[in-house]
Symmetry: C7
Subunit: 225 residues, 7 copies
């Protein structure tokens, strides 16, 4: 009996061990809005290009407050990003109800990682979205990147979405651990502008150790010079 | 062992990260009735072409009251549009029962977005329908578009269904934030007529800040000159 | 890795957005008995060809009383039509038990529409049957067509099944809102005869505003001249 | 992307609207024992060829008492026929327990129809068996044929299984509504003999208005001349 | 759209109405041990070849007591035969507990038939085993064959497994309804020896009306001359 | 319609009635450690080659105590063998809790057989492991082999895993029902050495009627001469 | 009927008995970080290369404390490794709650083995991660490797991930059961450096009999010379 007559099984790995659908989902992330996160010891900003839309349509929100002290942003399919944000908000509320304390940034990232990972094991669709989470907790101002595969990283400079390689280079080259909020906003804007050719807005969220509050900057920044 | 002998898994993404069935569902939306929404600060209208039917058959309703202060319209498979409307009405009722207050327009859009998104994750059929939701709530008169993928946008001018590109251009070109109800109806009618060649009726729904009530205009408008 | 090696997902849409199985189910409907509905303000009739059977076999019933004030007919796979009728009767009984009032014609059609729509979303068989529902309720005598996809229409003249285009033309050409019951029966019979070449019986059901009762005409009408 | 790369869905309809597996199941029925039913106003008989078996093996029973007043026969896969009989007996018992009255013949047929229809909707095997049901109830002596698709017919003369066309012609040609039990048995035997070439037994069941009892004739009839 | 692009459904029937997997399962049965059953009015024997095994391995049991008055044997996959025996024993115990009486042979066969039939309807493996059941109950000494498809037969002489055609011919040729136990054992042994070329043991079980007990003969019979 | 367009069903049997996946699982067993069991009336030993590992890695255990009086060994995928051992231990504990007596060897084998058989019926993976079970119970010292298909055998000499044919021949040739424990160990070691070319350890377990205890020999035996 | 027309079943084994997806998952493990474990009678270390990341991104943690006395490391998909760690921590907590004592190293390994094995039986994704577990329990300092297939080994020197063969050779060549902690760290570092060409950090965890505590070394070791 020839092997092609043997039947067919649900499979997940290609012959080299690659997770086929998870890798395809990354392609969706890589076509998303250019999105970055930068932090110093006391301040973190999240910034994301608001993709240009038709004249009378507001661009989709890209910086999402999760809890008083916690915010997130994402790149990839909008519906999938919204799903992640919904999950993060749910976890933050559950944590407050269960432990009567705010969800720390690491636990938030682990919960999101675990949530995304489930979608890679069963015959459902792995979500096509990565995210950056920033917040202030008793350990200080923290920032994590959580990928569509459920992998997460802690760090001071992240970029996801279209042209993430190039914008991360900008951040690495000009990063300085003593930057002020103004410096961070300026660097984040520059990193995104290095990728986006045409005029587009940038939405920015900030959390600082002094206030322990995550908030969006009220006016999005124009990339047009 | 050759890779074509490896078995087969349910998959959702094509190699470039596109969601294959969701994109096909968009094709169904793009063949639907030309449907638009326009709003100023105080008034929003929803308008949709009533596809011509046989002489003794009433065209299918296209403007749906959801709650006193809230209405919606849609384009795509009629059965799928009806399903969305049913879901919106259910959410509006649940909100009143749970919170004793009307469902605000943003929450309605988020609920619908989340509902549509579920159908993109599992091995079921993604719905082939987009919708525009308009209503009056404590934040004013608001309008959202929710797509078949679960993505939503806030805005002052939307068009979905057949020829949506062309009718959106008409709206953008002639839109003026100070338009009266008469102006809005006139512009919406013109935007739809720019696409539909032959005689067909247009059904229109209106919600204004002053009344906080969503209602259909009693007489559909004839596109025939 | 070649795309044909990517695996296979359950799919529902063809590349142009068509619902493949639902369209095939329509083919089954289009081979069913020629079936019509006509109404004036005060009277509605449903009529369906009884397909000729062997000498000693009674033709299958085609006009189904649903409740005192409500009746239906259908075209397509007999087993599927019977399933719809069963569902309509169940809904009518549930409505009486829950609200202590007869099910209105619009709600009956919406319930059936929603029931049929479910079969288009999951990996089950979409039903291969369309139906026409007529009844008398506080809004008057009403008539709806519900298609195999879950779409429904309100109107005064419908035709489904084999040759429905031709019989609908007959109805449209000769329809007159002032027709008597005799006129309606005569027109319905003519519309069906225009399609069926050979001798066959026609079963007819009637509901009028004055009696608020749906009943079959006692003697089926012979199409043979 | 080529359409053959789109994935695969469970499907039920062929492009012309035919139910592929249900039609194949009919092929199984058409290879079953020649089986007939004939009735007058007061008497019904069911008769089925007992397929010749090896010398020491009893042929499988083909006439099944369902309740005192009700019997059935079937053609197709023996295991499937047995399943139907089991279902009918269950329904008859449930009816007596629930309503304290015998199951009428029409309801029995509708229940069986509905049972068979379920197997055509989901990804299970449609049963490969048709049946004829006869009984005496307050409406008189009644007889129904229920097909593998869930379709049922009422009538005075039915034939299913191998050569059913030919045996139904014999019945139609010689049927007379005034036939006695002896005439019915003679005609039923002749109809089956017209198909079966070699010697085989015929099992016969009878129900009459006078006794309201379904019973098998004690001696099967030999087809050999 | 080409038909090969339509998708794929679970299917059970081939185009001629054959049950593909059930027919393949029969191939497994036909490669099993040669197994027979013979009965007169008062005595039944079951006999099965014990397939030769390696020197230090006991051949698998082939005659299975089910209850005091009931025994069974089988041919096909050993694991599947064991499953059937387990099911029969369970039914016998349940019957005693529920009705306080021994399970009659016909009901045992019907229960097993129904159990096997379930495996032919769903997307699971039809069992690859047939069996012969013999016992003494108030109706006398009875014997049934139950096939892998769920079909069952009553009779006085059965053969299943490898060469069943040839051994059944031996039984039919020499069967005599007045045979003593010794005659039956002798005939059963001869029927099996007609198929098995090399030396192998035969296990035999007996049930008689006088004792109403099923028991294995203590010494298996050698086929070697 | 061509048969390759008919759809696809889960299938288990090849056209000759072979269980495709179960046969492939046997290939995994046949590549496992050479493993044997030998018993006399009063003593049973289980012995298995410990596959050579890297210098600092202990070879995986191959002789598993199940209960005081019961032990087992296995060949095939280590994970699958461990699963079987877990199941046997669970059954032994359940038996003690339910019946307050040790699990007899035959019942242990039947339970394991039934457990393995389940994996051959549904669309899951049949386990790739065979086992030999030995113990002392009121019927004496008993030994069974249970195969990956759920088939089991009782005997005095078994061999499974790589080269099982050759080692079983050694056992059969030199077996003597009066062998002492030393003889059994010597024969078992020789049977395994006949297959394994290079130096490897052999783990041995013993159960005897006098002690009714299953225990591993403390020092594994070196195959190197 | 040709065999390629027979239908398709989920399958797990290739024709030679290989578990296709489990083998592919191993490829993912073999591309993971070089990770080792070495132990003497009283001390065990786990060490893993921290894969170099972008400048502002912290490398992912590779040494995971499980409980006071127990730690683990892993190689393969990060999301899968995290899942294993989560499972180990859960088991450790459950053990403390149920038995009021710390989980011993062997039971931890068996639980993880059983957990991983489940993913190889059903139509889900086998996890692409192997792990090394070390801890101190009443039996001393113990170390186990648990593979992606659910197989586990006990030992004094393990290597998994990229270049595991080469680093294991280094360990085997220079291992000495009397090594001090400093020797172990030095050897582990050398074994990893033998594989990793470029500068990368190594994270190290230690558990010793004297303290019965598992702890990470505070400063990762630089591989750069």
């Amino acid at each position: 009996m020839e092997s092609q007559q043997l039947g067919r099984t649900p499979y997940f790995y290609g012959p080299e061990g690659a997770l086929v659908q998870v890798d395809f989902a990354l392609e969706a992330v890589n076509r998303g809005s250019t999105t970055i996160g930068i932090k110093t010891k006391d301040i973190a900003i999240l910034a994301s290009q608001l993709k240009p839309t038709r004249a009378l349509i507001d661009p989709a929100e890209k910086i999402y407050p999760i809890d008083d002290h916690l915010g997130a942003t994402g790149a990839g399919y909008i519906g999938d990003v919204l799903k992640l944000i919904q999950e993060l908000r749910l976890q933050a509320q559950k944590h407050r109800l269960t432990f009567d304390s705010p969800l720390d940034v690491k636990t938030a990232s682990e919960e999101l990682s675990s949530y995304l990972h489930q979608y890679t094991i069963y015959a459902v669709r792995p979500l096509g979205a990565s995210s950056i989470i920033a917040g202030s907790d008793p350990t200080g101002v923290q920032m994590y990147q959580v990928d569509q595969s459920g992998t997460y990283f802690k760090g001071s400079g992240f970029a996801i979405g279209a042209g993430s390689e190039r914008s991360l280079e900008v951040i690495q080259r000009e990063y300085n651990p003593n930057m002020s909020l103004e410096d961070l906003v300026s660097l984040g804007t520059k990193a995104i502008k290095s990728v986006t050719q045409d005029e587009s807005q940038i939405e920015i969220g900030v959390v600082s150790k002094s206030t322990s509050r995550f908030a969006k900057l009220t006016t999005p920044i124009q990339t047009l010079q």
